[in-house]
Amino acid sequence: MTKELEALFWELKMDLLNAIILLLNYIFVPALSYGSQLALGAIFVSLIYGILRFAYFTAGDLMSFGTMFTILFTWYFQSLGIGLGFLPTALIAIPFGIIVTIFYVLLKDKLVFSYYRTKKSPPVMLAMVSIGTMFVTQAIVRIIIGPFDRRFFDGEKFIIKANEFKEMTGLNEGLAIKSTQVITLFVTIIVVSILFWFLNKTKTGKSMRAYSDNEDLALLSGIDPKKVVMTTWVIAAILATIGGALYGLDKSFKPFTYFNNMLPIFAAAIVGGIGNPFGAFLGGYVIAFSEILLTYAYKKFFIYLLPENLEPEGLLQLLSTDYKFAVSFSILVVVLLFRPSGIFKGKVL
């Protein structure tokens, strides 16, 4: 009697574990890495909105610009035979990509944006101008590297393979963790902690927050606006390149996809409260998780959890995967309507 009961418990436990692993594998891990990539983008969009006070429509293309140079340097290092062994070569290329991107944004600021800033043009004007730079950036990327899909990942692809995991644990469901996902998470944590340390503890960071809070008061207390603006652009370039390169490593690099990523990035920034980098950081995960949670087919999950005679017939998918983008945009619209300052109270840096 006890043996039978034990066997039943064992089976139940296995089912529960299988169900959890299933969710981990298909929802949690992918959403976490996608969310990190969005978060990096959303933070810099939010920063630019808070300090320079306009919607930066070049966001997606700036990311593709940085990624393009990372790829070019990766190829260069690969041709020289420099590599990191099991880690992707792109990791050494990222700093060089960042430097080029910093030069590019500073040049753009000098040639284009500074004029409107000194003239105190309305934010709408600056947003339009950023559409002009979006066209130019897109053209540069496409002329240099072309519009095609490119993969530049090298090194070890998986940290845990699905089969190995199954063998190791004896479960039915495998858990596959790609090395890019771990790298993404790791890099995001480091970059974001440095950024928040910078914003909260250093003098420049504090002056940036003051400038975002109240421009006139900040100028009155002797904060150099040029320095604040320059630092913002440098941070934007760093975050854009890292976020873009991580996305490209995880999936692939295609200029059009990057342009499209601008939309969920904006959604993340606004959902988190635009002008509030920490909100934007969390907003990235909110968007990523809701996109994947709402479009995942839960059939298998419930097969594990429910007794056999209750097994579901349909796919149990709330929305078809085609509506992935639509999910994040609908969340955005709802947030805009009911809480325009975002979930985490925006516009206070």
């Binding site: 306009f54 919607a55 284009v112 004029y115 309305p122 934010p123 709408v124 004007m125 947003a127 339009m128 101008v129 559409i131 002009g132 730079t133 979006m134 066209f135 130019v136 950036t137 897109q138 053209a139 540069i140 496409r142 002329i143 072309g146 519009p147 342009f259 939309l263 904006f266 959604a267 606004i270 349909g314 078809s320 085609d322 509506y323 983008f325 639509a326 945009f329 609908s330 955005l332 619209v333 805009l336 309507l337 325009p340």
Partner: protein
Amino acid sequence: MRNNLDIIAAYSIMLGLIILVGFLQSWSIALSILCLCLISAVMTIGANIQWGYAGLINFGIMGYTALGGLAAVLVSAPPVEEAWRAGGLNILLCAFIIFSMIFIIRLIIKKFSKLKNRNYIIAAIIIVGLILLRLISAPAIESIEAVNPATTGFLGGMGLPIIFSWIVGAFFAGGLAYVIGKIALGLRADYLAIATLLISEIVIAVIKHEDWLSRGVKNVIGLKRPVPYEIDLQGKEWFINLVQKFHQGSLNLISDNLEKQQALKQLVIESSTVFVKLCFAGLFTAVVIVLLIITQKALYSPWGRMMRAIRDNEEAANAMGKNVVKQHLLIFVLGSAIVGIAGAMLVTYDGLFTPGSYRPMRYTFLIWVMVIVGGSGNNFGAILGGFAVWFLWIEAAPIALFLINFFTSGLEETNALKVHLIDSIPYFRFLMMGVGLLLIMRYKPKGILPEKIKRV
């Protein structure tokens, strides 16, 4: 007359450029550029009403264009009776449920505004409604899409002449704009821009993936034209005579009779495409002129003055007793409806509906470049912007080729840089658009033909 000299000059230059293309490349290309210029002009009129008259940013132009296109399909495609039998009833039932849901929710919001747990009731209604919709529509959609999926697999349209869709498209787009305006118009300018951009992406996602309605990415082809087909024209007696008369001079030079017949046949084939495009251009010009007259009248009417007052100082206009919210909504709907007309015209011209081709770059941002380059607040300017930018967009490739050859003339033909540059010619159009937009915004922020305000 003297006041309008710049307008006349700008338009003559534009027309001259198109004629030049006719002489240098071919009349067929020149006319298709002209047709698309005219369609772009309709779009810019719509965008200009919103931005130039009222200062509203609408980055959802792509969505309204696609809705106009959908209207063209729903009006002109022949109905698929089998699909209607398979699931038409359920779809109608779904539509009824949606309408009753909206009605009930409106009723609750209006009548029971003091109810404590009102929001929970509304949420419950929405959730129950969605589950009902899902249960009713899922089998219907499946059976509709199973009806001959290679050629139909959707409900089809009404089989009416496609010209009607221009009006229907306007109503579709206007209806959507009403809903969006109701929710989003209270937002700040740049929030509104982002919200409309994202909503238009949702519209495209729906059109792309609801196969029962629009065939989705499988495209709808072979929509009936409002103008004659080339093949029919080539067989018509009067058309051949017309071509003969038109080319009398060059035909007379050929002495051999057989050769003359051959040449005539060739000419008839060529002229038939030109004739068809001329018909299209005539129709589109009529639309543009009608819209231009209406918008021009509106701009200089008391209503237009009120709109400008609202644009320039919302608070003051409000203080003067003008209902800013209502006027904003009105102009949002009107402008979007005009864009919807353009969307239907575009599908009419192409004869096919391809939801996959609606991209924000081409249908939203390019239109904005047109409005800003041309001159916001001035209808003539907006139309000119549509012409000039579309012309540049198409002719960017030949211009870029010429420039590359000019600047790299010192290099060899096989030089890697030169080959790479020539391979990436199509992307120079983005560069030209971007640089053009930046230059105009910097040195002529009011556009080529700036807004003129008549003093009464």
